[in-house]
Symmetry: C2
Subunit: 202 residues, 2 copies
DNA sequence: GAGACGATGTTAACGCCGTTCACATGCAAT
DNA sequence: ATTGCATGTGAACGGCGTTAACATCGTCTC
């Protein structure tokens, strides 16, 4: 380890590059993420990135996976919060989904960019599956042994509405001139309407 | 007018470039859309595009606007179809939304890319507003004189769920290995559940 | 008709991008 | 100590968006 002197071998370049993507995306948006910019921020030559990621798309895939896992963590945190202090778990989890998108729009965009990531990557797929299970978690009626990719109409409605609201707030016209709290309140209202709806028989 | 000989002045370059974006996006995805590729397809030098669009982002904004209007047309067509032949108008309009996204994923992506278009452009904003009204159209209870940007919790739920399903099918893991008809059937089921939900009191 | 002028298209160049390849460096096993 | 391998470097490639100086042409005026 020794000091932080400039060493020829960086040591943790793969993760440091991910961190650079994080910072640049947070500051300037996902479109501004450039291999050269990431390398410069880490203090390394541009070509060194290719020792750890086969191309830019692979780096963005790793970042998307990271972001997905962060989202899952946020949702599970919200669920535990509610389990300890009481409240509607489904509402809390859904709100956490939207809140994450509002707080980290660039991350949310990066997660769902089929054209700029390798969407069939194993780790990425596993992360999306974990997210799906996290959302399905509120549904006792789901048959657990069936195909994990199968969704009931109500599960589909739950994920779609929360995901759609997040998307419309991040990339759509809904957020125009509204504060974070106003957006969260609108989201809370929608999730409440959804919650009522999901109690209805099909 | 005369013949279709190679003339120095193209004549309809602005629209022809839009058409080129359409074709390239359809064939190779929105990420493959390049000013130089569009210019080459039209048979014109790359820099000529800048006589009609201040930059690439402006061209993509015009394309997004066009795509939005196409979506609105599809939805209104579906509505009229139902009005003449009977059926659930809300269901038909929602399904048209999802069907458009499945049929033209690149267009759907282009519509909602805040970072690559000028989302505050007048024409683009007008198109999004028309789309919003098209979706709100099914809701008699909406107070028409109020802020057109205001959405009730139920309207929010309606747009979000349909938009979210479309997004998840286009950029998410839901569509994995499913045929177009299977996807449309799943969408139909979700919209049905949504329709029931929207009849419930808040 | 002649000439001026503005709109539209061209050519050449700039810097930045992702990517590759030959090469340099240093760690670890022998 | 030597070898071998993983990791980082530097220079170069073609493609990108964009600009500026220049070419062409339709149209408006006399």
């Amino acid at each position: 380890m020794s000091t932080e002197k400039t060493r020829y071998h960086h040591g943790h370049l793969a993760e440091s590059l991910l961190e650079a993507v994080d910072e640049i995306a947070s500051q300037f948006g996902i479109e501004a993420v450039t291999l050269r910019a990431c390398a410069k921020r880490v203090g390394v030559s541009p070509s060194s990135a290719f020792r750890h990621y086969v191309d830019k798309r692979a780096l963005l895939t790793a970042f998307a996976t990271r972001a997905l896992n962060q989202l899952v963590d946020a949702m599970e945190g919200a669920k535990q919060q509610v389990q300890h202090h009481g409240g509607n778990a489904f509402h809390a989890v859904g709100l956490a989904y939207v809140a994450f998108a509002i707080a980290k729009p660039a991350f949310f965009r990066a997660m769902w960019r089929e054209e700029t990531i390798y969407a069939q990557d194993g780790d990425y797929l596993a992360a999306t599956r974990k997210l799906a299970q996290c959302i399905q978690g509120g549904f006792a009626q789901t048959l657990r042994d069936e195909d994990p990719d199968a969704f009931s109409a109500q599960e589909l409605l739950a994920w779609s509405s929360v995901h759609g609201l997040a998307s419309l707030l991040v990339d759509g016209p809904l957020a125009k001139g509204k504060s974070r709290d106003e957006l969260l309140e609108a989201a809370s209202g929608m999730i409440q309407a959804l919650d009522i709806a999901l109690d209805q028989p099909v």
